[in-house]
Symmetry: C2
Subunit: 341 residues, 2 copies
Amino acid sequence: MTSEGTAVAGPAAGASGGRRSRRGADVPALVESARNGDARAVARLISLVEDASPALREVAAALSPHTGHAQVLGLTGAPGVGKSTTTTALVRALRTAGKRVGVLAVDPSSPFSGGALLGDRVRMQDHAGDSGVFIRSMASRGHLGGLAWATPQALRVLDAAGCDVVLIETVGVGQSELEIASLADTTLVLVAPGMGDGIQAAKAGILEVADVFVVNKADRDGADQTVRDLRYMLSLGGRHSEAGHWRPPICKTVASRDTDNGVDGVLSRIDQHREWLESSGELHRRRSERAAREIEAIALAALRERMGDVHGSAALGALADQVVAGATDPYRAADELVAQL
Amino acid sequence: MTSEGTAVAGPAAGASGGRRSRRGADVPALVESARNGDARAVARLISLVEDASPALREVAAALSPHTGHAQVLGLTGAPGVGKSTTTTALVRALRTAGKRVGVLAVDPSSPFSGGALLGDRVRMQDHAGDSGVFIRSMASRGHLGGLAWATPQALRVLDAAGCDVVLIETVGVGQSELEIASLADTTLVLVAPGMGDGIQAAKAGILEVADVFVVNKADRDGADQTVRDLRYMLSLGGRHSEAGHWRPPICKTVASRDTDNGVDGVLSRIDQHREWLESSGELHRRRSERAAREIEAIALAALRERMGDVHGSAALGALADQVVAGATDPYRAADELVAQL
């Protein structure tokens, strides 16, 4: 690593990457620079894969021999539980341990902001100038499935660039966020006291993806009750009670801009989980499943594109109008689309 | 409508529908019964479409001439804002107005509960015995995209069965939930005071889908601030400030088991939105777009199945292992899958 450069792979660098790609990107040189720790090269590569640019396939091929090193952490939870401050505290602790860290902050797009409202500038203040941290905000830009598509690609870039740990922070608790969390080797689920009772947490569907629970804001009233609620939910649970399975521990933290109480405990639980993943064979199983999902998603996107090429978008619109009028049903309409491929 | 029967289309009835379908369902008779208000027939039809049974296509074809009547309302918001009580209050008000109402309560699946934790029994207490209300809890049962798949089918059953209004209540604020909310003609977004500040709400990505905002629990401290925050967010927004566009109104409610304060105001905003939808041509546009998405999803599912038939599931696993090992990349692997179709 001869030069690590500046460490922020933000939207501005991304836009410049986009311009570069239209002139044709020198992919091998970019991959080489990224592997040497050049943050601008990392930013450009992420932009190339995120925008599904013509260079996308070349980038993917050039990255693949260098992937598989990074430990991937997912961090999810309902709005307001303190994900951003916890991410910051984890990054600080990992940096202290000498790890190179990548952060992918996944925000649902909003036409109100054209992307992440908090923005990279707020988020990266603590780490700006630290050459061992890459931070990237991902915005879906209005594509359905856009984040589920782009995030594994960006993860692969950070992995190939030599990050020891990549932390994927997802906002919200919906299916897409869970899919993104499922990219992780180890998924942390954050909860906070007073964010609704146990039933609400379970409704949000976050329990089943947790490898480690973090009760953040543990200095608040109700923290112990939240821990008890989680323990009770876990005692009801299926997979976690079986022999040989991982039983998610529950950590308490008070992460803020100034204090990192409990964060070391979280990291040691992550290490324990990592050891279990390796000794049980679960690590390979998870990564293989993740790759299978990605391959399938790419294949389906290619087929969708082919449908568009064969029929043109007007054909789908005409079929849709027939369905609305009750003249046909969606299955017969789909048959027509597929038949001619 | 000679007989409206019992009005609960719950999981038990669904399971019985599943058994029936394995013996072969008499689809025309079921559709006829459902149109006459037989709740058991409605439940069986939903089960047939939800389970992707062999009769699915026959059901879809039999329903389509009878669809398009129901007004579809979506109701979404973060966990804890009071969606269930608001749904109950809206149903009560719509029943008072003499409407037949269907409710699809969409819960992410949880292995901790095998489905909806609150369960139909809690939810339907207020309406049990009312023959003009169908309530159905949808659970994704572990299929990715399962809810996005099954919900429009169930909606079509309720529509064909003669519901004047179908209310789709989604838990959570993720992409899938937004997709499901997008099935609606009119989407209500619930927020509550103290559930996180305006920025958190925007991060959750719910602002852009709202046709009507409902600030629930409006008797709590901070309700006026929440209204001001929403108004400010809207003032920043893109689409809503353009001429001819709908500017989402903000209603305040206190919906609980005993009080429905403000619910009539919500209903009158829904009526205004409906008028705008019709006069602007937006109603047809939304429904046509919804049908197009559904057709495309069905076509892609058919193609995915064909990939499985051609290659077998072992082939995808082998390709995935190669990706994990860095021997190939997901794009080349996807090419192999698609090439032989």
